[in-house]
Assembly symmetry: D2
Homo-oligomer: 352 residues x 4
């Protein structure tokens, strides 16, 4: 059993997104403002569409926190979908409300529409779209923010950086690249670097494949919608020689130090005390103004992929989601290694 | 609980490597020759060192197979380490045999030595080396071979291809690149493509982050020793536009078809019926003839990293290991989706 | 990974109880009236205290159900705590609301108070009481009701029966026994039998300890607050001879039949087609009008255990909770054995 | 993920039984003599049949232990089946050895034969018997012995006691009861009490059903072949009043103490520092000299249940198996609560 675990729920146009987090130690201060700031980071970034303006996501805590602190009980986080009132009937749980309004039947390439409708035997693709939407990453960022609050107790800090958007490799060029894509009715992806500092030596292991820290990070990051590639450390590893790649080991004031970090902080599946460096690739957003060729599942005839108001580029948002996922992995690994049912006990242990 | 699960054990110079596989359906034919052929593929490849000649790995089945078929009971696979007789005392479980012969104390950069010795509180780095060694992938390939035998029942076939070794991008150049590295006492990594054909629509899901097929494949591949990067589908995704990247959908004889497969067979975390395409990067082997600068953990003084007989390039072996890992993920997903406690029941269900 | 899994959250006097259920197949009809009827069964029974009158629990579905049917997405269930308005400040997540109102410091014997406060490092035992309270079983019954709706699709039906309350062994005597205990300021437990009919042959297994159906049922039932004993089948097994106990096997119209069911429907950890029979013992409720001797954790001095309005006997409620737990186990096992992502696919498979 | 986890394999008449234990901290001394002594305890007891004489089980350690200590790597334990030479062809993995020798087709009531053969689609019931046999508990006792060695580091000790065999309730009567059953060609079960002393406060939890310590113990014990009932604490709970049952709380020298332990050391799903008391019921052995009525699965005709040399009573062996299972649960819980990758780190933490 994982120590830090959670389930999320909620549809893109449903009433709300919900998460239950189980396994947090007691007496962790939960700073709601920090969670909301993370939600706001996720909503920002150049190239976002209209929906972002409607919703300024804020979290509500329904359980597990009393007077600002956890006490062992599961924490419930809720983010309301602000435009639910317009969707109340369309997304109703009540069989009496059944309607075909807003249903749609053309598979959108790059989305779960086709595979999801086969898997779950659905004819109205709205039943696939609603959960497969990236909207659910909002609540995941809230969960990740809680994980970060835990990591902060141990001085572990995450950050991220956009390395590339389309063919633009520097910040100055990003806006121009996005503007061009937008005016062409097209979309862009990019490359993101996430970094965690101050991670202790010894998280994860090589003893069994499913204990490897790099494997666990890779799962958490690759399962972010739109991520198609994950790398740990220097992503030129394939073309470097052993003598160039491996990070030589030195001592400084009796401590082990490195001058390079090509390994990205993980050797043999274990954190080695250097910064954890994760690079991920986000594919371009699949909902295009310029429609893609597809098929209508109701008729079997060719059709153009449905357009819902969308973004040109969401790489910055994706960076926040990836940070959040890695935070969850590290929080769990920290609890697995050091144990502890209260923050006081965790701190005692991690500090030896 | 996973349906197909396994644990492996064994040290690089221990008596043997062992795997217990739990959850295989009954009446699956276990072709030992096929498993051995896979083991032999793993041992091959240009650029391997001396040890490969000593050991022609073969599997022994200790449980779970009777008259060539599974019957529900856990399957035990064993691969003996052929040179164990030379290591019997050094690797002995018996406290009376204690010796410092073959112990070593200089952390090898790129290996688990440093992080592992801190984590497990070991002074003799042999106690880290022995399990963190890539030797354990032999038994994982045997497990993967069993998974492949299961997948074969449904027509699912895996294969792999080397895309790059160092700076060499075509097969003709690979040997030259390896020869050059070898004569320089250096090592090489590379880029590998693994492909699975005939995977049914509907494995994995977007409904919860840990059900995503791409995430599960990423974990399985990234936790292979030496793998530093995993991609699903076209690994140029970051620089492609939405209109270029997404695989348009057509019908042919009433069936859904694609003309491209940039998604690599997975959309929204679910297999979409196209080939599953995984690209992985292997870092250069960290055990170099040309020693790296490091530290002796016994003295705290600078020291040169220990050299054990090793390979210049093991990209081909790594490809087989990755194939095996993906096979295990797919076998588990197939069993989760379709159920079945015997091959007959599985076949009935998968064929509807 | 389990196929049917869920997390619950919520405190006894918090805003609400929440559950997220992940892994339900699509197209399952969710009958809210049935869930509410189950909640009402849980609230009934002779011997309940005052709180039951305040709350007529009803479920709200926040996600995962559209027009009365599941569609693959996680289902969120919420039950509001009706008297939350009186507790809003006391149970507030906001640090500004901090108050010692309703805090308490005397460990109640039989509750988690002592062990919980040590584990989670809490001084106000309210922080333990609130989650360890049996109140959380309300949302578990809602989850169980959903599991029952799934089981009903395959004709699997659960029911329960009170075998004993205190020393009373027949229904006529139950009320008298409870009245006597009540007037003495005391509480009662009892013995409950839960039965599931129409369970197919082949759920669970003997191949690995954690796959055994009886073990999984035992965990689910023993973890119900107040349950101290679980038996499968004839609970006189310990004093019966082999020739008396074991259920001989016959055929009738070509089908395997039994004349007895001492095994309670499980042989070798696998369902054998007979009714699943579970007997559980509920201990007497630990919150007594007649206070128990204890200790005040603030002073270390002797103190009498705190009294909150409570019940004399909740055996009937407990029976409903146990039914619910067993339903969840069976739903998961059914999905593990037969697979299926939609009800149509499940039905196809289970019917061969 | 569990911290202490294992898989076992092996058939009753196969070459050997194997276990792989993953997650043990490093530097734990593994005393092979202790493991063998536990194996010998399992083989003892009045009322055992002939097979016990053939096999004096001893363990061999194939991995994970060097010079008497663990070092983080998975531990492989093997117990050879001494009469395998007589079964080599019959239990062969090789398809060329196929034979119907020793196959059998009459379902034995009380065994997995019927349910197992349906589940795994087997016609030769030997394929069910071999793994469902209680023989596999030998390797589980070896695993439990390793768990006990870990628990011993923290002063946690297990023991067991036979409370009843058939209708005999005192040790003096046990032999007579067994002799009588034996001469009647019958078998007996009984009631067993297992006790663990010195368990720290705070293992397990009430926060989520699957974290409850009592639930986890119940699963581990109920899944022992032949166990049909598990109780924690006073198994008269159902007929006791609240004022009688609950263990009042006192202080002595500033420490929390109890005068009774009806709760069996677990309140609210958490260990409370008192002895963990588990009572289990073992059913009578289902293999009788006096055959039971059954059916031949090859013909569908009535038949008498097959007899293999067996025991009259194995309650003492069962007690050792239950002790072992509880040891595994406690070892895992201890590691989950306190963390630690080496014994030194575990000790540091548990001692605060």
């Amino acid at each position: 059993m994982e120590k830090f675990r959670f389930l999320t729920s909620g549809e893109s146009h449903g009433k709300c997104l919900t998460a239950i987090i189980d396994g947090l130690p007691a007496n962790l201060e939960i700073d709601t403002d920090f969670i909301n700031a993370e939600l706001s980071r996720r909503q920002g970034g150049y190239g976002r569409g209209g929906r972002m303006k409607i919703e300024a996501d804020t979290v509500e805590i329904l359980s597990g926190v009393r007077f600002g602190k956890t006490f062992g009980a599961p924490v419930t986080l809720v983010i309301e979908n602000k435009d639910f009132e317009n969707w109340q009937k369309i997304m109703s749980a009540d069989p009496k409300d059944v309607t075909s309004e807003k249903s749609f039947t053309t598979y959108r390439p790059g989305h779960a529409d086709y595979a999801g409708s086969v898997k779950y035997n659905q004819k109205d693709l709205r039943n696939i779209l609603e959960r497969s939407s990236a909207r659910k990453t909002a609540i995941e960022v809230a969960v990740g923010a809680v994980a970060k609050l835990f990591l902060n107790q141990f001085g572990i800090k995450g950050s991220s950086q956009i390395l590339q958007i389309g063919n633009a490799k520097t910040e100055e060029e990003f806006h121009k690249e996005i503007d061009m894509a937008k005016s062409a009715g097209d979309t862009l992806g990019g490359k993101i670097k996430v970094l965690y500092e101050n991670v202790p030596v010894g998280l994860g292991s090589y003893v069994q494949w499913d204990r490897a820290l790099d494997g666990r990070i890779a799962q958490a990051v690759m399962s972010v919608p739109a991520v198609k590639s994950v790398a740990i450390g220097n992503h030129h590893a394939y073309k470097m020689k052993g003598s160039e790649f491996h990070d030589e080991i030195f001592t400084e004031d009796g401590k082990i130090v490195r001058k390079t970090n090509n390994a990205g902080g993980i050797e043999g599946g274990i954190s080695n005390g250097e910064n954890i460096v994760v690079t991920a690739v986000m594919k371009p957003i699949p909902t295009l103004l310029k429609p893609l060729q597809s098929v209508d599942c109701a008729t079997g005839h060719p059709s153009e992929a449905h357009f819902e108001r969308s973004d040109t580029c969401a790489v910055e948002a994706c960076a926040v989601v990836i940070e959040s996922r890695v935070a969850c992995v590290l929080a769990n690994e920290l609890l697995l290694k050091y144990g502890g049912d209260s923050i006081e006990e965790c701190l005692l242990k991690i500090e030896g």
